[in-house]
């Protein structure tokens, strides 16, 4: 439990939804199994009453910062790296905006009276989401309406985008499962580049690089703690940092990484070992 979900304790349907979604995340099952629970919430008066509670809190304490208030969302559950449940608004991309992949599964429910419009764009079945390739292109595009009280499951295997703006939604997001967020050109459908899929991963990457330059005698041990990180680029950052801080042990760590599950890491390790004349 966390403080956020405690805030909705007095709303039984909402609490039930959070518990169900949490269970699904813990057992690594799809959020689609929480679909009927989300519809129960959407068709109840709890969301209206919850917003009333939030607004009352602003009235009661004009200068405090309520826990649920976040930028562009009302955050009602945050398991910090786990489940996130928030109320927000749709925002359609502009013609010049890229399209982004979804690094984690989410279940979205339409709250406001107009529902919302969205699109899905297919990508080939062989799309390896963890290995960037500029040859990946978007396929068929289909547009849909999500009526009030209805839901849509957003998988990581398709590109989702809102087509309408300002519609109130509730979003249940499972933890990020893909290390990379892909960026596609909206007009051409071509993959242009990838980003770290979480701010946390970006920050870790900066810290590893920082410690590799400014760190002390304890930093090497701390950096090495991330050598089994689930995202390949963090593991590779660790290798590079070890190369800087402890070059004598670079050979050992490179040898270990030749069997890394990510081809970019294993291939780069083999290449570097061969440049060092030891592979």
């Amino acid at each position: 439990m966390n403080n956020f979900s405690d805030y909705v304790k007095e709303f039984p349907i909402f609490s039930n939804l959070i518990n169900k979604a949490r269970e699904l995340v813990q057992t690594k099952k799809s959020l689609s199994y929480a679909d009927s629970d989300l519809r129960d919430l959407l068709n109840s008066s709890e969301l209206t009453n919850l917003i009333k509670k939030c607004v009352s809190e602003i009235f009661d304490s004009s200068s405090s910062e309520p826990i649920f208030l976040h930028q562009d969302q009302i955050l009602l559950c945050n398991d910090f790296g786990g489940l996130v449940v928030a109320i927000g608004q749709t925002k359609a991309g502009e013609a010049s905006d890229p399209l982004y992949s979804s690094p984690g599964e989410s279940l979205i429910g339409a709250i406001s009276s107009g529902g919302f419009q969205y699109q899905f764009q297919e990508i080939g079945e062989n799309w390896n989401r963890e290995v960037f390739s500029p040859d990946v292109t978007l396929g068929d595009l289909r547009t849909y309406d999500c009526s009030p009280g209805r839901t849509v499951l957003v998988p990581t295997s398709k590109i989702f985008d809102y087509l309408s703006s300002g519609n109130v939604i509730i979003k249940i997001a499972a933890p990020v499962e893909v290390g990379l967020t892909w960026e596609f050109n909206r007009r051409t459908g071509i993959a242009e580049r990838v980003h770290a899929s979480t701010v946390e991963a970006t920050t870790l990457s900066y810290i590893i690089k920082f410690l590799s330059v400014h760190g002390n005698e304890d930093s090497l041990h701390a950096i090495k703690n991330l050598i089994r990180h689930r995202f390949h680029y963090i593991r590779w950052d660790v290798v590079k940092a070890v190369g800087k801080v402890d070059p004598e042990n670079l050979y050992k760590i490179l040898k270990e990484m030749t069997v890394d599950p990510h081809p970019d890491v294993s291939n780069a390790s083999i290449k570097m070992l061969s440049q060092l004349g030891v592979y």
């Binding site: 009333k52 009235f59 200068s63 400014h214």
Partner: protein, 294 residues
């Protein structure tokens, strides 16, 4: 020019000592008093071990399984016990030249002219330091605070937060653009918080056209306005009552305006029976809602 100091000291202090110093010696409501903390902030910046130890500890306790969380681009080193202030270290990564807006631009607000609704003192902590363009907003207290409002802006300088340098950014008055440093850098900040931070706005500016272009989303004002907007779309008659009370009494004018607009959105009929206290509110946000009827 912006208020810049080059206070030299060979001292190296820890966070607790700095916090005790600010608690006992600094009046956070007085700019000159905050600026006088520059030497001690530099003494704290001289203690590079603090941050290295913090990061070492964070990485060691980092849980490599899903469920771990590390999401700060700034690291809070300490907060005031009896006075309202924060001591934090900020990361400033370099950015490869590109025509595209990068994730770093978004995360670190690079190249976005903005002011702050709090004053802060900053010093270089690691690396060559970020560059910043600084303008001065004349009479920020006289701003109505609306999008498109013309602002008298004067360019002060382009400068760099070099090692050994401290800079003071004045609440609301200084407008700045952060430019990525040539190499990864870190700064150390003393943020002076007041209750005003919760009810006053920060702005984004168009420097070429000398006008306000937006409100940063992370401020309390923007967060409250967002909630009011949501309430206007899914609230009921009881919500209207609370919204009208907020529209009448809240100290933040943008919150009042958003609450009134949302109340009318839920129940258009109330536009005809809005109380005198709201009608007499001179805030442009309230007057705009009254004029448009939503």
């Amino acid at each position: 020019m912006a208020i810049t100091t080059f206070c030299k000291t060979s001292r190296s202090i820890d966070v607790d000592e700095f916090i005790d110093y600010v608690e006992s010696e600094i009046d956070l409501n007085e700019d000159d008093s905050i600026i006088s903390a520059a030497t001690m902030l530099q003494a704290l910046a001289n203690n590079q071990k603090i941050l290295i130890d913090t990061f070492n500890r964070d990485l060691l306790k980092y849980n490599i399984e899903a469920g771990a969380s590390y999401s700060q681009s700034s690291s809070i080193l300490g907060v005031g016990k009896n006075k309202s202030f924060v001591v934090r270290a900020n990361m400033w990564p370099s950015v490869a030249p590109t025509k595209l807006k990068t994730i770093e631009n978004t995360l670190f607000s690079y190249e976005l002219p903005h002011n702050h609704n709090f004053s802060f003192l900053t010093a270089n902590y690691f690396g060559p330091g970020y560059e910043t363009d600084i303008w001065e907003c004349a009479e920020p207290k006289n701003l109505r605070g609306t999008i498109g409002e013309k602002v008298t802006i004067r360019f002060l300088e382009r400068t760099k937060l070099d090692p050994g340098k401290q800079m003071f950014f004045r609440r609301q008055k200084d407008i700045h653009v952060q430019l990525p440093p040539e190499e990864f850098s870190m700064s150390l900040n003393l943020l002076a918080m007041t209750e005003q931070d919760q009810i006053t706005d920060q702005f984004e500016f168009n420097i070429k056209n000398n006008c306000i272009t937006g409100f940063p989303g992370g401020t309390m004002c923007s967060k409250r306005v967002f909630l009011m907007n949501i309430a206007g779309k899914i609230g009921d008659e009881e919500t209207v009552d609370i919204l009208l009370r907020i529209a009448a009494d809240h100290p933040c004018q943008r919150t009042r305006g958003a609450a009134l607009a949302s109340a009318i959105n839920i129940s258009p009929i109330i536009a005809n029976r809005i109380g005198k206290n709201i009608k007499d509110d001179e805030s442009p946000f309230i007057q705009e809602v009254l004029k448009s009827g939503t």
